[in-house]
Symmetry: C2
Subunit: 309 residues, 2 copies
């Protein structure tokens, strides 16, 4: 039974765009509960400027108070050298660097061009100097909502350049849910062939309903690492009302039903997903929290017994 590894990103990627501040103790509790569910990795927070993302201004406190479970990697977003210093101090297990493969998206999101981002991140990698494993998340790798197509060669070029700098892994992100399964298979096969020593993770959004189909295509192509977000939180400012990240519980439930080993305690994860709307104070897109697991049975209506006689 193949093993699939999940990284839950709700506490960083999910919470980051939430309108109401989530109390620090709720964040710590959620990370601890995710640890108990059996996630391989948890993206805990971001060492961005507290002014830029007030929601994650408690990064140090959260990292200092979570209960670290052996076998779970606690990763953090590191935007620059200052972030790397803070991440070192907080003893993160992995630093996750981010840039876009689309020039316009990088300008819109990070307020600088791709080359400036690349060289900034290269400095972070040099500074970290192999002391902590580094992952790079490449945004809009399957298309940019402002530019349209992002050629696969452009994505592969950035993967190559970061691989040359010695990063451990790269996450290929479908930031606004533009990927389709055929495109995913093509990308996944090519990257695995070319970068045999790199940890490859795929990050899908369900903006256009294709999230789990893309996950399936990636699994069929041999990818074993995925990002997911509890409840499907996290979204896309270009598609208000649409879903965001694929829901961890929906994705994991599907793979479990197919016979994959996700390492996750699914009833526990489902319970957590059902508590999430209370934490964020609104409904969330995840489906199995509403519908139950495929194996959850319902009683037959009372008249069925009479009819049977």
């Amino acid at each position: 039974m193949s093993r699939i590894y999940f990284n839950d990103v709700v506490c960083r990627d999910g919470f980051q765009i939430e309108p109401n501040f989530i109390p620090t103790e709720d964040k710590i509790k959620l990370v601890d509960e995710l640890s108990q569910c059996g996630f391989a990795k948890i993206e805990v927070t971001s060492f961005t400027s507290p002014k830029a993302i007030p929601m994650l201004r408690d990064a140090e406190e959260v990292m200092g108070k979570i209960k670290r479970v052996p076998g779970v990697e606690y990763t953090v977003l590191v935007p620059n050298l200052r972030g790397a210093e803070r991440a070192f101090e907080s003893r993160a297990d992995e630093f996750n660097l981010v840039m876009s493969t689309s020039e316009t998206h990088n300008l819109a999101n990070l307020r600088m061009g791709r080359e400036k981002s690349f060289f900034g991140l290269a400095k972070v990698i040099q500074y970290v100097d192999g002391k902590v494993p580094i992952n790079v998340s490449l945004s809009t790798a399957f298309g940019c909502p402002m530019e349209g197509d992002v050629p696969q060669e452009v994505v592969e070029d950035y993967v190559q350049r970061f691989a040359d700098l010695g990063v451990r892994g790269v996450t290929i992100c479908d930031t606004t849910g533009m990927a389709n399964p055929a495109q995913v298979s093509k990308m996944a096969e090519s990257l695995q062939k070319r970068f045999t020593n790199l940890q490859l993770t795929l990050h899908f959004h369900n903006t256009r309903g294709m999230g789990l189909a893309n996950l399936l295509a990636a699994v069929q192509s041999g990818i074993t690492r995925f990002d997911g977000s509890l409840g499907g939180l996290g979204g896309c400012p270009y598609a208000p009302g649409a879903s965001g990240n694929i829901s961890s519980e929906d994705a994991i439930h599907m793979l479990d039903e197919m016979g994959y080993d996700t390492g996750i305690n699914i009833p526990r994860l489902l319970q957590l997903a059902r508590e999430l709307p209370m934490i964020v104070r609104h409904d969330v897109p995840g489906q199995i929290a509403k519908a139950g697991l495929s194996c959850d049975l319902h009683p037959a209506p009372a008249y069925v017994d009479d009819l049977r006689k």
Copy 2:
């Protein structure tokens, strides 16, 4: 480029469980607009007793007033001999018969056991006598929300028995969204091998988020005919709050993006999906109506131009 054929079931399967009566003229207009989108088949209504399903009490009027487009098949649900008489009078292109492969679900839904349903439908088939093509929709073929697993042999046995009676096609229905892609592949491959002369259609629900992943698995296994419901309308009383049928527009958009020929005018379909909430007076689950097509571009924020300089 492979051709995929879609049957939109919103006017029957979707509307059937809507709480507010949808005016007859809205139904007629919607069928006519679906015809213009290029659907291969449209399930227009049901010739059930008007008392049992008041929503579809206008079946004759709808069938009498729609504008039939050559190349589009107008199918209707036929529950019994009386329904078949009415369907003949209304000149339906296909009669769609329904029963469950789970005993408990058949009792709950049709208030009789499976064998009684089978022999009732056999009488309808005999009465129709080849004058109109017949399709049989087999419910809960991937699992029953009350019994749990439905063995594939049981499903195949019913397919065999209906094939022996000379039906043209069979629709394998995941009535409450319990199917997973591995199960779908196994079912699709086995049925296609065994029933080479039967028109096979798959009908998925997105109750647990797996709808388009299941569609992908079926397409990969060679299935070319699918049911979908505009907006993802139609649902499952056992999963309140969860999605119902796969959304025609989301499914068709995905296959189109992958390079399949769906025969559908997608911008026109998207427009129709965006009008649907006005017809049913509530939000609907379909995603691309909210998010737009993958190829719909958005303007970059104004500061991007300044940054570029």
